[in-house]
């Protein structure tokens, strides 16, 4: 694996109260093979919460893609899609 896929979870106020708090345990929902291929980090604010049209909080950034209204299952699916795994 050359470069890991970056997964950035927003931990800002808005994302946090809108359900982002749960996303911190994301890693527990992923298989070790997937965990190996990604790099999870946090961001104090992804700067989406004050932009119109970015969708609704909470936000997670996968690669260059912003996922809005992120939930664990939505993020897991998006990661799998990016990595092309089942």
């Amino acid at each position: 694996m050359s470069k890991k896929l970056s997964v950035t979870i927003c931990t800002g106020t808005l994302c946090y109260v809108m359900g982002g708090a749960e996303l911190q345990v994301l890693e527990e929902y992923l298989s070790p093979e997937i965990v190996d291929q990604i790099e999870i980090s946090g961001s104090p604010c992804l700067d989406c919460c004050n932009q119109d049209g970015a969708g609704k909080a909470p936000f997670v950034k996968i690669g260059d893609k912003i996922i809005s209204e992120a939930s664990i299952s939505k993020v897991v699916d998006a990661i799998k899609e990016e990595l092309n795994v089942e």
Binding site: T11, G12, T13, L14, G20, Q24, S43
Partner: protein
């Protein structure tokens, strides 16, 4: 409240009751106002509730006479007339020490019946010229000592009740008690070990040692008060994005230039500072025991937290805390402790409002940052006697 730009006057005291008692007969009070700091230590003699009430009355009398700038003699006379009885130990049936610390650093000391205090400068005992005043009472003359000196940064005043001085009495190791010299050399050793030991730590250490001298069952109430003239400890708290984006740079500059502890409370705020100063932020994705969003780190900044949720919890903690130490391990406890460890707290509040925060459909109510910080500042100033500044940006 810093009473002088030169230094901050930290006052702390700690006490232990005689074994078997639930309240102490020693009372220490501290009062700040009109640019002055007053510290009173009174020993009601004996232990328990009665002694405690007596000492409380004496200290409050002493404080009010001093506040009214009444001559010391009068204050002393009234207190002595009211409380000193003819018993053999009459000198000791009501005691007090009054420190009146002025904004120019002049300290006036009045002592009656308590062990004489120490002033430690450059780690040696500063000799005070004590003048003796004779107070005539129906039980014969009583003697009050008055003295004064000009404090400089790093001076310390150590006050203690006779229970501390006598601690260890009749034990094998200290048959004659700890004594003045013992206490003095203990304090000096502590200062050698830590040049900037706070008044808070110092009074606790003295009492812990005295308790040990009495083999952990204090034979008398023991109290130690410490006054420490030190450089003020400053903390900068930045929260909120500047109203105008052009000010982002100014905000970052304030953070970069500040000499003191730096705390940032706010996601967007920290992003702005990170971008302007070109310093990366790492979020510590850990679960917080208080259920608050995680903290982050940046070079040159002591702590970064989320904004309004965290600050409103900090406010709650400080509101509910009554005199004890804050022991909570969550981010709220951490921030509260950080604030309390400083003397001067400078808030820089960004006034840009994130409209989405005001969306009524949010699952929790987000307080307006400005009001929140105003309340927090008031609390820190009034209850915790901090010097607080707020700057809006």
């Amino acid at each position: 409240m810093a009473i002088n730009k030169k230094f901050f006057v930290e006052v702390e005291s700690y006490e232990l009751c005689e074994k078997g008692q639930i309240v102490s007969g020693d009372v220490t009070i501290q009062h700040r106002g009109k640019g002055r700091v007053f510290v009173i230590l009174s020993d009601g003699r004996g232990s328990g509730v009665k002694a405690n009430i007596k000492a409380s009355v004496i200290s409050s009398m002493a404080l009010h006479y001093t506040l009214l700038d009444e001559p010391v003699e009068r204050a002393a006379q009234t207190i002595i007339h009211t409380f000193v009885s003819e018993s053999a130990e009459s000198e000791k049936s009501a005691t007090f020490t009054i420190l009146d610390i002025r904004s120019n650093g002049v300290v006036n000391i009045v002592e009656f019946g308590n062990p004489l205090c120490f002033v430690i400068r450059d780690n040696s005992n500063l000799k005070l010229d004590r003048e003796t005043i004779e107070v005539n009472t129906e039980y014969g003359p009583k003697y009050v000592y008055i003295s004064s000196f000009e404090a400089t940064t790093e001076d310390r005043i150590i006050l203690f009740s006779d229970g501390v001085e006598a601690s260890g009495n009749f034990t094998k190791r200290l048959p004659n008690g700890w004594g003045r010299d013992g206490i003095l050399s203990f304090c000096r050793e502590e200062i050698v070990g830590n040049m900037t030991i706070s008044a808070y730590d110092m009074c606790r250490k003295v009492i812990a040692k005295a308790e040990l001298n009495d083999l952990f069952s204090p034979k008398n109430d023991m109290t130690c008060g410490v006054v420490y003239f030190r450089n003020p400890r400053k903390i900068l708290v930045c929260s909120g994005a500047p109203f105008n984006e052009k000010k982002d740079e100014i905000l970052a500059d304030i953070v970069a230039q500040y000499d003191g502890t730096k705390l940032i409370c706010g996601g967007t705020t920290s992003q702005i500072i990170s971008r302007e100063l070109d310093r990366a932020i790492t979020v510590e994705l850990k679960r917080d025991s208080a259920g608050l969003p995680p903290t982050s780190m940046m070079d040159g900044v002591d702590l970064i937290t989320e904004g309004v949720l965290t600050l409103s919890r900090v406010k709650l903690l400080l509101e509910r805390n009554v005199g004890g130490d804050i022991t909570q391990t969550g981010t709220d406890g951490r921030v509260a402790r950080m604030l309390l460890q400083h003397d001067v707290i400078e808030f820089v509040v960004g006034t840009r409002i994130n409209p989405i925060h005001q969306d009524p459909s949010l699952p929790v109510e987000l307080e307006l940052r400005r009001n929140l910080i105003k309340d927090l500042a008031k609390l820190l100033e009034k209850r915790y006697l901090k010097e607080v500044k707020i700057q809006y940006i």
